[in-house]
């Protein structure tokens, strides 16, 4: 303890000295990594908000208050007092599920409960069975769906336990599993149970993986290393088979949807009709180029109607379910990229007819909700600039979209119960965090809003006296000569344009992600700031194939992943080489996952350009990647043998000249170790010398202190060989 205090005093002295002399402090990994000892202190100020019906509230450590008046609603102490024991430790864990009602919903390790703090009593509680996974609780009926091993259960509001399935695997094999997310979380799937609007019927997935090969994952933390066989269908190999059941809680029976298509088709974005009589399923063939929206009768499981069909010569990718208009059960909002950009459509579920609601060379990024009073749809889009995500309200009567709040930055919004208010959180390149309460109203066909700023956070780095690198964003032309590509550039701290700096390209490059957007510091990653403080220049470019830019931009890479992406990145390199302060003899590249694939690819394809690379959890050969994601972009190895061959890095291993460190989570379940290990083998056979590191027990990404260790490692590698 004495030593710690002494060190703390030393550090304080250092701080004071630095501040007195006007010197800026340099960021360390402890400052910029989430598990770092100083990370929390350098986060922009925040306010934690939620909704109590239509009342905006703020949650604090000890209580929940009205956001605008600051009036206390309920305290942690009061709830525990009523419960007669500690059932909640933080105001952030108090849910106010019903507007106006003085009821708090709490969840402890083994119970869910509701407390009426006005009445001063626990009005309901439900035990959570031991080991209940995939918990899906519905407020409507207070039924809880959950899984234990491969089987599905429901705990009713009054505590009865119903076993829905019996043939789920209980031997650890995961051959047959119920109630879990299927299709490896692709197609917008995140869970495996779906309550009907009244909470009395449960739609659920059943996945049969018995025919899927297991990938051996070795756990070295056991006394004797143990293996688990992780069901992992590789591209072109036998895939799993999914069915959808509907369990009627009151009737105690399951009906199975009589799904159309082949056994290994995809069944996604299950949506209940508001009356619970129908369920809508987006069904996609394994080739992922033929999608149907089908309505099923939930009493009989029979197909009622095929509402619409979308096909494409590359692929169709249903990512979102239907959102029924709260005021008209015959219509729902649907999203589709059928015109080349992701847009909102109004679907008539009686006829299957659609009307396009938004249009243009931009993307609707998120459907937020409905304003039930004005009958408008709230959504986020990047209509202003591809790097932004701004809020819009689209009045369905007038079909007019109105920008809500700041027309800059990247927004997240949470709607009130009736949808007339929202809490809008955003950051922009120069605004670390802004929290605003927005009240919308419509009058005579015109939408308007009132904005109350709750918080505009100061720059914590500036406040604490840190040297902040210059971070800019701009665009260059893609390799096609036409398309704009956006980049972020991070200049070294103390930048001197007459010097030449070692330069690192950070890259991801794959679909469904982007690196450059208009949030704080242009979406800077903490490690980049750290590297800039060590004297590196960082460059990050979103190539074709990445998200928010429309279908053609993404699909340019179809059947030849890596090629267009690299061409674009090399345009970025040309741009860098044109800058006098970039040292073209000291160019590095780093990326993870798809970015690890890109990094390895760039190191082997442009061995005279890049001197040093660090590739994390890389894809090496798409045949080792899974069916759902892999076949979407590459088709199967059987359909596209030349593409798989050309895009494999195994054949490029012989070209490696620079220093390339491959790093993987030893138990990576996503880019399985076979990728990296096969590349090593290819290098060994070809006589080239990559480097390697691994995190036993680590998955596809490292977290906590491992993340700091990892970035220390990545940094050291560049320091060793690029600096």
């Amino acid at each position: 303890m004495k030593i710690k205090l002494f060190v703390a005093l030393l550090l304080m002295c250092g701080m004071l000295k630095a501040q007195e002399s006007g010197e800026k402090r340099l960021l360390t990994l402890e400052d910029v990594m989430p598990a770092g000892s100083n990370w929390y202190n350098l986060q922009p100020e925040n306010r934690y908000t939620a909704w109590w019906g239509n009342v905006p509230v703020e949650t604090l450590a000890n209580e929940v208050k009205e956001l605008l008046t600051g009036k206390s609603i309920v305290t942690v102490e009061r709830l525990n007092e009523i419960a007669g024991e500690t059932v909640v430790r933080s105001g952030h864990n108090i849910l106010l599920p019903y507007g106006k009602q003085t009821i708090a919903q709490l969840k402890t390790g083994n119970r869910r409960m509701q407390i009426d703090w006005k009445e001063g009593k626990v009005i309901w509680q439900q035990n959570i069975p031991n080991g209940a996974g995939n918990q899906d609780f519905t407020l409507k009926s207070k039924n809880l769906a959950y899984t234990v091993a491969g089987n599905l259960y429901v705990a009713t509001a009054d505590g009865e336990i119903l076993q829905i399935s019996t043939d789920g695997s209980t031997d650890g094999s995961d051959d047959i599993v119920y109630g879990r997310s299927v299709h490896r979380d692709e197609f917008g799937i995140t869970k495996g149970t779906f309550w009907s609007p009244d909470g009395e019927k449960l739609a659920f997935y059943r996945m049969d993986q018995s025919m899927v090969a297991g990938y051996p994952q070795v756990d070295i933390s056991k006394r004797i290393a143990a293996v688990t066989m992780d069901k992992y269908p590789m591209a072109g190999e036998t895939s799993h088979q999914v069915k959808v059941g509907i369990y009627d809680v009151k009737g105690r029976r399951t009906v199975w949807l009589q799904l159309v298509g082949a056994p290994d088709d995809y069944h996604t974005n299950l949506t209940w009709a508001p009356d619970g009589k129908r369920i809508y399923v987006f069904e996609l063939n394994r080739d992922q180029n033929d999608m149907r929206l089908v309505a099923y009768d939930t009493e009989t499981g029979k197909m009622e109607k095929e509402l619409l069909r979308e096909t494409h010569d590359k692929y169709v990718e249903p990512m979102n379910g239907l959102k029924f208009l709260p005021w008209d059960a015959t219509k729902a909002i649907m999203q589709s990229r059928r015109d080349g950009y992701n847009h909102l459509y109004l679907l008539d579920v009686k006829t299957g007819k659609t009307e396009q609601l938004t249009q243009g060379t931009f993307e609707v990024q998120t459907f937020v909700g409905f304003n039930t009073k004005d009958k408008s749809v709230i959504y986020l889009s990047n209509a202003i600039d591809p790097r932004t995500s701004c809020l819009y309200s689209l009045n369905l009567k007038h079909r007019r979209a109105t920008l809500i709040g700041a027309g800059e930055g990247v927004h997240y919004a949470s709607l009130s119960e009736d949808g007339t208010m929202l809490i809008d959180r955003y950051s922009s390149p120069t605004v670390p965090r802004s929290v605003n309460l927005i009240t919308m109203h419509s009058a005579r066909g015109r939408e308007s809003y009132r904005l109350t700023n709750i918080l505009t956070a100061a720059d914590p780095w500036q406040e604490k006296g840190y040297a902040i690198p210059e971070i800019t964003s701009g665009s260059i032309k893609a390799a096609d000569g036409v398309t704009d590509l956006y980049y972020r550039m991070v200049k070294p701290v103390g930048f001197d344009p007459s010097k030449k700096y070692p330069t690192i390209v950070y890259v991801y490059g794959g679909p469904h992600a982007h690196n450059v957007d208009a949030r704080w510091h242009w979406c800077l990653r903490g490690w980049e700031a750290y590297m800039a403080s060590k004297g590196y220049l960082l460059f990050i470019l979103d190539n074709r194939g990445s998200e928010w830019r429309g279908r053609a931009f993404e699909q340019a890479t179809f059947r030849h992943l890596g090629e267009e992406e690299m061409r674009d990145q090399m345009e970025g390199v040309k741009f860098l080489q044109s800058l006098p302060y970039v040292d073209a003899d000291r160019m590095g590249v780093h990326g993870w996952s798809f970015g690890g694939f890109m990094t390895t690819n760039l190191m082997c394809s442009y061995p005279d350009v890049f001197k040093v690379g660090v590739a994390g959890g890389p894809v090496i050969d798409w045949k080792y990647y899974e069916v759902m994601y892999g076949e979407r972009y590459m088709d199967t190895p059987q359909q596209n043998p030349e593409g798989y061959e050309r895009c494999s890095l195994l054949g490029k291993a012989k070209n490696l000249k620079g220093r390339l460190q491959l790093i993987l989570g030893y138990n990576d379940p996503t880019c399985v170790p076979q990728h990296t290990l096969s590349f090593l083998r290819a290098c060994e056979d070809a006589g080239t010398q990559p480097d390697l590191f691994t995190y036993p027990g680590g998955g596809h990404n490292m977290y906590g202190r491992d993340q700091i260790h990892l970035h220390e490692r990545i940094t050291r590698y560049f320091d060793d060989y690029l600096k």
Copy 2:
């Protein structure tokens, strides 16, 4: 082809130029590694010899000749002509099993055959069944024992196939296996079948491993990575159980020896009595401190007699079977370390009494055979100098040992049928290879011999104009202040005593091995010569615990592996630090297996001494090592928890300061990957940064081009961080 020729010309020009100018060529990895393109050209000249009864012969590519006269005995062409097809491709593959008889024994992929080249016909042949493993052929009866999966078979001389066992595992589990080497090849065991002298009875092992945990080994070369569970009993865990059966080929029946002791005891060095009526088994308890030599009746399997017993408070390690005197079936030569050094004893198998034949503070290294005419025993010992292995003949009548041949270097000998002649091959620090034919005779109680030098090879490195580093050997005192430890020092090419050189300690350090002996270049490893040619100084010291130095020297490490060994190595470091031309600020360490353990240990225990280390296939924690070897030196983790804890490197991971690269065969079945991976995890948790590399598909050691790749890698690491 044209390009290759051009390159060859360029290389020749380079050679000529170097030689013209008097410059020496520097060794490359291609010169010093067995798989290197120039390795073969730099091997000392050789002559391939064998025995035809009592006639020494030389085998050549196309024929077999009499060694002394050069007279052709038989040609490859002649044998193939007789067979009517190509059954042999090289004279080296012709065996002349019977003295004086004109019979050649050949083995093709699927047949064994004997050809009488004088008669001009195939006189016998036997098909080898597909997939026959562990083939054990006996000339006497021409029966062949072999295994398929877990079961044992005999193919008789006339082609009948007899299945000896039926409950051997055929599912790949290796739960029950027959006819294989057991006890993980410890205690001198190398095989699992033992023919009786007349070739009509077969003693064999049956090993039940069903209770042994499997270590998961992942094969990434498959389309989808596959796992095999490799039976690997870890120290303190449940071990396998071995039985011995005797199969009577004519009687078609098996009897089981009624072995004494516990089910997981060790049964080693099976020796048939000359008349086949008895079999002798060395039986050792699992604790390895209580050994009995037991005689069993091979007709009934019953124990006949416990002949002798050896106990020790540390361990007893039977490594050699009995060698019956060819002229007296009641007596056999036995080896024991009971007086502190490995010596020969004459055992009376009727009484169990022993007489010590050799004595002194040296070790008998190898029993070579008997001279049946003179009634003497031929063996190798290091009586002259601990680093040597020289030939001796011990006349059993006069009990006098006579040095045969050169009293220097390290010898290997092959005896003629009657034992009166031997071919002696040796090298010494300055003699790359010497082949000699020695004829022994005894007259009036005095042994003498006649030596004919067949070959004394010139130094190929000198001949080819390579710069040869200075290689010396000497001794220092061990950490106990008393014991002599021998070292080899390799000075950098172009050594200048006024300069300071980066210095690498190469280390093994474990039992049953040594690094320094009196063979060519003091047992130099090719890589050391390569490193010396790159400007490094190499130092190699055999610490206490290593072989050829007696029991106390080896057992000093009992229950605390690594500690005495490191103390001794640090005496070597002190010696190095006293040398003006050793740069104490640039000290590295490298070793493999036990040497990987030592390297990692030294890097973590003396972080301020060693700047760079490369540890291959290391032991990290002895609890992950196997029962047989591990428990001998460490007892079990249950018996010796403090020892295991203290000797584990997991707790030392936090001390790592220098650069340490760990390298392992990804499928190492000996030091399983759990060692290295656990160390990585410990380093990650402690925030230290080792480096890593692995060879997918590689085992405990790398061979072929992998070995060159590996040494390029090891070299680069020292070049990167030590040079």
